[in-house]
């Protein structure tokens, strides 16, 4: 059996190197096209320049960029997960609640002496010893928080892949369920994590590298790079792409669609847990309604970034810039002095413009349909 797939029917081995054409040389345009995220990077630069003009006090200074590096990571991390989910043709609306429940787990472990069912661990400990125990519990809290996220994701996966509930319905329901659970176990209270800044956990997750660069940004960048490789270079990522493209095809080509979907939602849950830890650590407080404001921002970020709602493709680079764009627009509109009432109008228009832009790039014929009336 030779590499070209031809059997040596006549007993003569065909020359393996003959018949192999060289890879065609690509034009500059084709090569630019192939660079992922170039269009959205341009959009990001344009948006920044616009706000530098409209609100120079803010955008020509350095603080806003540091602020972005701190506030973007929790959004970006779930956005990256959502990119994979949408590429697979599904959606996950439950991540805000994962952020809440995992945030609670993290906070509760740190404040274990205040939590009724964990307080017994504090017996006999006081002062520094208690604080040291709290720091240890914080590590445990971080691990448990991510694990809880993963568990929620796994349950989502079972509902969607084994029972067959469409993902939009399943995750809408679990969004309510887990938020409710978070409020119940927290007894409706917010938990302050006073003193956590001195812990190693905090330094690792939210400390400042070289005294200014936020660690969350480092971690989320690493996660972005890792997920890029998973989506574009790993068997799992390819399975997701094919599932999103055409589930039937994926199935007949031997992909275990159900198993991969369960893995996908579990991964999304884990990422939600990570996001919850970062958010809670940076705010030094757990709020029962934390993450609630994330739902639409993250979805907008993913689509503005260029991932197609139709599934079958996803851009990690796009989501990174999409998240930054969404945050820059949010703060930029305010800084530029747009009246509060107009805030949402402007954001909505930008969202529509960005999505239309991507559709036009994806399918230029559609643009002709918009501009020229069809004949006949």
């Amino acid at each position: 059996m030779t590499a070209t797939g031809r059997r040596d029917v006549d007993g003569v081995e065909p020359d393996p190197l003959a018949d192999t054409p060289a890879a065609p040389r690509r034009s500059l345009m084709a090569r630019l096209d192939a660079i992922e995220g170039l269009p959205i990077l341009l959009v990001f630069v344009i948006v920044l320049v616009v706000f530098m003009v409209l609100a120079p006090g803010t955008f020509l200074g350095h603080r806003i960029y540091k602020s972005l590096l701190i506030t973007a990571p929790p959004l970006l991390i779930v956005g990256l997960g959502l990119t994979l989910v949408i590429a697979a043709g599904e959606i996950d609306l439950s991540f805000p609640s994962v952020i809440a429940l995992s945030g609670f787990v993290f906070a509760a472990c740190y404040r274990f002496d205040n939590v009724p069912y964990l307080a017994f661990l504090a017996d006999g400990l006081e002062g520094e010893a208690l604080q040291a125990m709290k720091f240890r519990m914080a590590w445990l809290g971080m691990v448990l928080a991510v694990a809880v996220g993963g568990l929620i994701g796994y349950v989502n996966g079972l509902l969607i892949a084994r029972i067959g509930i469409p993902s939009i319905i399943a995750t809408l329901a679990t969004q309510f369920l887990w938020r409710g659970v978070a409020v119940v176990v927290a007894a409706g209270l917010s938990y302050s994590l006073r003193g956590v800044k001195d812990s190693a956990v905090w330094q690792v997750t939210s400390g400042r590298l070289f005294d200014w660069f936020p660690m969350q940004a480092v971690w989320s960048l690493l996660i972005a790079v890792a997920l890029w490789f998973v989506l574009n270079r790993h068997r799992f990522g390819e399975a997701l792409l094919f599932i999103g493209d055409n589930q039937q095809v994926a199935r007949v080509m031997g992909i275990d669609v159900a198993k991969e979907k369960i893995r996908l939602f579990t991964l999304m849950g884990l990422l939600g847990g990570v996001s919850g830890v970062f958010l809670t650590a940076e705010n030094i407080t757990f709020y029962t309604n934390q993450g609630q404001g994330f739902l639409l921002l993250v979805i907008a970020a993913v689509f503005i970034g260029g991932t197609s709602i139709f599934g079958g493709s996803g851009t990690i680079v796009g989501t990174v810039f999409g998240t930054l764009i969404v945050l820059v627009v949010q703060s930029g509109i305010v800084a530029a002095g747009v009246q509060g009432f107009w805030n949402d109008v402007v954001i909505g228009l930008i969202f529509i413009a960005a999505v239309v832009f991507h559709l036009v790039v994806e399918r230029p014929e559609r643009f002709k349909g918009l501009v020229f009336a069809p004949r006949g």
Partner: protein, 331 residues
Amino acid sequence: MKTTATTLGVIVAATSMLALAPAPTVAQEMLGDGMTVYVQMGGNPGGPATLPRANGAKDAARHLGAELIEQYSGWLPDVMVRQFREAVAAGPACIVIMGHPGNDAFADLVDEARADGIIVTSNNTPLSEIYDSHVGGGFGYAGVDLYTGGYVTAQNMLKAGLAEGDQALVYGLLGQAERGLSTRGLKEGLEEGGVVVDYLEISPEVNNDTSLVVPILVAYLESNPDLKAIGTQHGGVTGQLPRALELAGKAPGDIITGGIDLAPSTIDGLQDGYTSVVLDQQLYLQGFLPVMQCVLTGKYGFSGLFTNTGAGVVTPETIGELVPLIESGIR
């Protein structure tokens, strides 16, 4: 002699004419010139508990010559923290925050802002620790003394006709860091009067969109027919009480209700008699006074002022004169 008299007369006449002539108009310098103020408004633009505050802030800014930047967070504390960071990044003269996220979330951020020379002050929900640290630098508070506000509401509900042993529902936010104090004041005020209190916590969904509260309250009313009173310190919920009572088949006056803030639906409630007692936070002042604080501290370095804006209640008797102001979003 005649010339001296004439000269003196002319001088006197000229002087008095100068004195009586209108002063020439020179362009007035406004106290807030060149100052940008970021204000956390709380909910969503135009929302009932947010609009008067925004109007107060806008009026203050306009009359003091400062530039106002509005921030809306949908009452979500983690969004408020994020917006504070964005405000600091813009390097304004002053930032007005609300206390919902709590002292711990804000402490370091306020320190950073102060180090950058930004004035910070607060409204609506107090941040006692930050207040104590930064009052000298202009950190003030314009809002209800939360516990007192709840307590006063309770007192007035008792006065409106509650007796010992009566059943009451308190629907509030005991959970939130300092915001829960108002609910606590209400609850304890009622309990001191001998009323039996059942407590229900407001869910995040209802907190964000209070129209969702109606079915919850109707269900509660129908399963508790002996209920004599409902109390809350949530503005949006107060506005929904009249409709809930009506849908549950109650006549005005059957249930003594106590609430807060004067949304248009609350006016109707007071006029119909469904609403008995409303604590008026005077939200307009919660927008106006902090902006004024910003400008005065910025210009002259005054320290922070603590103003209790929730001094009294509005009842069906006193609502009449306030109606036009409420409808235009001032009260």
